[in-house]
């Protein structure tokens, strides 16, 4: 089937809000090339489980597409229309399984050496779309806080190397009650600027108690879900004919209820957390991978005004000789390795934050937990500098604003 053959009843299996959205924009969909449309429907089908920022962005995109004349649509999608698809892809049920279509399309693009042409088309489309829509700045300057190195007693290697050129390094930070100070700062922002999913706290271990106005995700709290997922993966892998690609498809279709999550008051957050585990690589095994990916996805999707991320220690990767011994004992933790992971994770978090609107006013703080090293980036902080002044984290936050 091709996009021009679309009919409203084909969206019958979509969740209620998504179904309404698809029906509203079906005329625009009919003019789009098949190499593009399923990636848009992949977003539409999840509309009911999207964060407010994502909903706004999708609605703006659909409104823009619906406003294009047929000639303009032809111009905008010329490069996508030039992508050659197989008849197998054309016959695929891309309306009901757009994500699986996109996976198969990706494989097709690699195999037929069309990936670069597709990349170019996608980049041009994003540029056109972006030029017509001014990104909405956050109601207050974005604040990203990253806490790394929990449990590390001594570490002599330099930290924050990739971030130092961007901000000021502080070597004598008073660490008393540091984490609580940072969490309180986020709670205070949530209180003065209540925004749905606007203020987050992600913890790579056990989370501290925090205000309900702050959206919370913790690796420890998801332990039963991870265990259920790993069991599910093991049983799927044991099935005859199962391969990595099919396993990925099976995992992408898992819903909170499949992994033992009871119906809650926040199905959007439930779905988000399950996706961190089913779509992230390594998130099921290493808490540092989970935390980095969770921060990336929260920034990309919810675009929070405040995001506190605390990395915890991950389990130690066993060397091969230890794998030759009988398994069963509880895995040890790798504190220093986790610090190195988190240091890179902090850099990626800053990069992801700077991709959001209001980047010129955004602030970023990274602190070595329970130690005296921190780095602050904000419009008020001189870049590439170092301070030996004694300071506590509350003062540091105040200097940043």
């Amino acid at each position: 089937m091709l996009p021009r053959d679309l009919k409203p009843e084909l969206f019958a299996s979509y969740p209620p809000e998504a179904r309404k959205l698809a029906a509203k924009y079906i005329a625009a969909f009919q003019g789009l090339p098949l190499s593009f449309l399923p990636s848009l429907l992949r977003e539409v089908i999840d509309y009911d489980f999207k964060f407010p920022a994502e909903r706004r962005a999708l609605e703006q995109e659909l409104t823009k597409l619906a406003s294009l004349s047929p000639v303009e649509t032809g111009e905008w999608f010329q490069a996508f229309s030039a992508i050659k698809l197989s008849s197998k892809l054309e016959q695929f049920d891309w309306v009901n399984s757009p994500a699986q279509f996109v996976e198969q399309l990706s494989s097709h693009l690699w195999t037929t050496h069309q990936l670069d042409a597709f990349r170019k088309a996608a980049t041009e489309y994003a540029d056109r779309l972006g030029s017509g829509m001014a990104p909405e700045p956050p109601p207050l300057p974005r604040l990203g806080i990253t806490v790394i190195g929990r449990g590390v007693v001594n570490y002599s290697e330099p930290l924050f190397r990739k971030l130092r050129p961007q901000g000021a390094y502080f070597s004598r930070v008073r660490s008393e009650k540091g984490l609580q100070i940072l969490l309180t700062a986020v709670e205070s922002r949530a209180k003065t600027h209540p925004i749905p999913y606007g203020h987050w706290y992600i913890d790579g271990g056990q989370a501290l108690e925090h205000a309900a106005s702050v959206t919370g995700v913790s690796y420890a709290a998801l332990e039963p879900v991870r265990a259920a997922l790993l069991e599910k993966m093991r049983s799927e892998i044991a099935r005859p004919g199962m391969g990595p690609e099919m396993l990925r498809t099976v995992m992408a279709q898992l819903r909170p209820g499949d992994l033992g999550i009871a119906k809650s008051a926040d199905p959007v957050l439930d779905r988000f957390q399950v996706r961190l585990l089913t779509e992230g690589s390594g998130t099921q095994i290493f808490s540092t991978s989970f935390t980095q990916w969770a921060a990336r996805e929260a920034l990309r999707r919810a675009q929070p005004a405040s995001l506190l991320v605390r990395f915890g220690p991950r389990q130690r990767q066993k060397p091969m000789n230890e794998l030759l011994s009988p398994a069963g004992e509880k895995p040890e933790l790798d504190f220093v390795g986790s610090l190195v992971d988190a240091d890179m994770g902090a850099y990626y978090k800053w990069q992801n934050q700077q991709r959001q609107s209001g980047d010129d006013k955004a602030m970023f703080l990274v602190w070595f937990e329970d130690h005296s090293a921190a780095l602050a980036i904000s419009p008020t902080m001189p870049r590439g500098t170092e301070s030996n002044s004694e300071i506590d984290l509350a003062q540091l936050l105040a200097w940043m604003t």
Binding site: R314, P326, G345
Partner: protein, 383 residues
């Protein structure tokens, strides 16, 4: 073909790599060198051997040869680079999956087989050209690879070549699992080495190097193999152990080693990725020492080291930095090649673009076979 923007980015990457290498190791830029290829050819021994190492699972510049990455490759910087010809811009224009990319390196054609299936390459491999053209026995071409997914890399499905003409393939971890499982414990977890899908064990197909052949071919008892394996920390270390045994007992003229430890990066832990690079750097230097010490190899072996491809850039929002190689951006496609051995100019950096599929015709020119169905061109600077 990669588009113009990506080509520009590849050249920039190559340029920064070259500048760094020139300042750090005192190397000469290849384009400034004038010399007689005939004079160099006179230094090449007649019974030449070639060892190819794929630098395991994709590594980026910034963690290897860029200034901030040098601390991760001290052995290559100190011991290998000053003796090597170094190509700064090797571009992989194919599919960036490890099995299919390695198959493309081995055939000289961008293969399009399913990266995750147990399938042979569709085009003849260097091993088949070598054995058929030069009428070499199966003992003269070997592949050692830690990942079970590479079991079919030794010979293609091509009707003019294929079964019986390829390389023999050893999967050391498969052997180890077989050796360890003679007891009651299940060691299936040893085979889980596909870091993109950590709980998936690739199926085996084709003819395996069986445990019994450890003793008959490698002169290694199963008990000694098990004892030694218990002292090693990674699959790539086990591979090097098997390679040394193979070099001493069989001394093949064409030996291909696929390293894979670095691909742990898919799990998202940066420290483990760096650890993998440092280990691979050490193992490459150890391999060169072995070459220099083994009478069958010393003075007549060319060692070629190259990653199969890179990994995604930090600043590409479509990826997640070092973790994967999915965006197809310039950093993930552009990598390097190092050649060491008799007749190869030492301490020279070449920054012209070389294609990944140029490897097979280069091997052909070195060993004397014609890679008639491959798409690349010989790299003249190392011939």
């Amino acid at each position: 073909m990669i588009n113009g923007q990506a080509s520009d980015a590849s050249r920039l990457l190559a340029s920064s790599r070259r500048d760094f290498l020139r300042s750090a190791a005192g190397l000469t830029l290849g384009s400034t060198m004038l010399g007689s290829p005939l004079a160099r050819a006179a230094n090449v021994p007649k019974k030449r051997k070639v060892i190819v190492v794929t630098f395991g699972g994709g590594a980026r510049d910034q963690e290897t040869f860029a200034p901030e990455g040098q601390e991760n490759v001290p052995n290559m910087m100190r011991e290998l680079i000053p003796r090597a010809a170094f190509f700064t811009q090797v571009v992989n224009q194919g599919i960036l999956g490890h099995y299919v990319a390695t198959a493309s390196l081995a055939t000289g054609v961008y293969e399009t087989i399913n990266n995750f299936a147990s399938l042979p390459p569709e085009h003849p491999t260097a091993f088949e050209y070598y054995r058929k053209d030069l009428r070499r026995p199966s003992s003269d071409a070997w592949v050692v690879a830690p990942s079970n997914g590479f079991n079919r890399i030794g010979e293609s499905s091509h009707r003019s070549y294929g079964p019986g003409l390829g390389a023999r393939v050893i999967l050391p971890k498969y052997l180890l699992k077989a050796a360890m499982s003679r007891g009651s414990t299940d060691y299936e977890h040893l085979l889980r080495d596909n870091y993109e899908t950590p709980y998936y064990t690739p199926e085996l197909g084709g003819s395996e190097f069986e445990l019994e052949q450890l003793e008959s071919i490698l002169k290694l008892s199963v008990d000694n193999f098990k004892v030694h394996a218990r002292t090693l920390s990674s699959p790539d270390e086990l591979s090097l152990y098997i390679v040394r045994q193979l070099m001493r007992q069989v001394a093949p003229s064409l030996l291909w080693i696929t390293m894979h430890d670095i691909d742990i990066a898919h799990a998202g832990a940066y420290s483990l990725y760096i650890e993998g690079i440092r280990r691979t750097d050490r193992l490459c230097a150890e391999l060169w020492k072995t070459i220099e010490q083994e009478p069958e190899y010393a003075g007549k072996t060319t060692l070629l080291i190259l990653p199969d491809f890179g990994r995604d850039a930090d600043n590409d929002s479509g990826g997640n930095g070092f973790q994967h190689h999915r965006t197809g951006d310039a950093l993930s496609r552009t990598t390097w090649l190092m050649a060491i051995g008799p007749g190869i100019r030492e301490g020279v950096v070449y920054d012209r673009a070389v294609d990944s599929v140029d490897l097979v015709p280069t091997l052909g020119a070195m060993l004397g076979f014609s890679a008639s169905l491959c798409r690349g061109k010989p790299i003249s600077e190392v011939l």
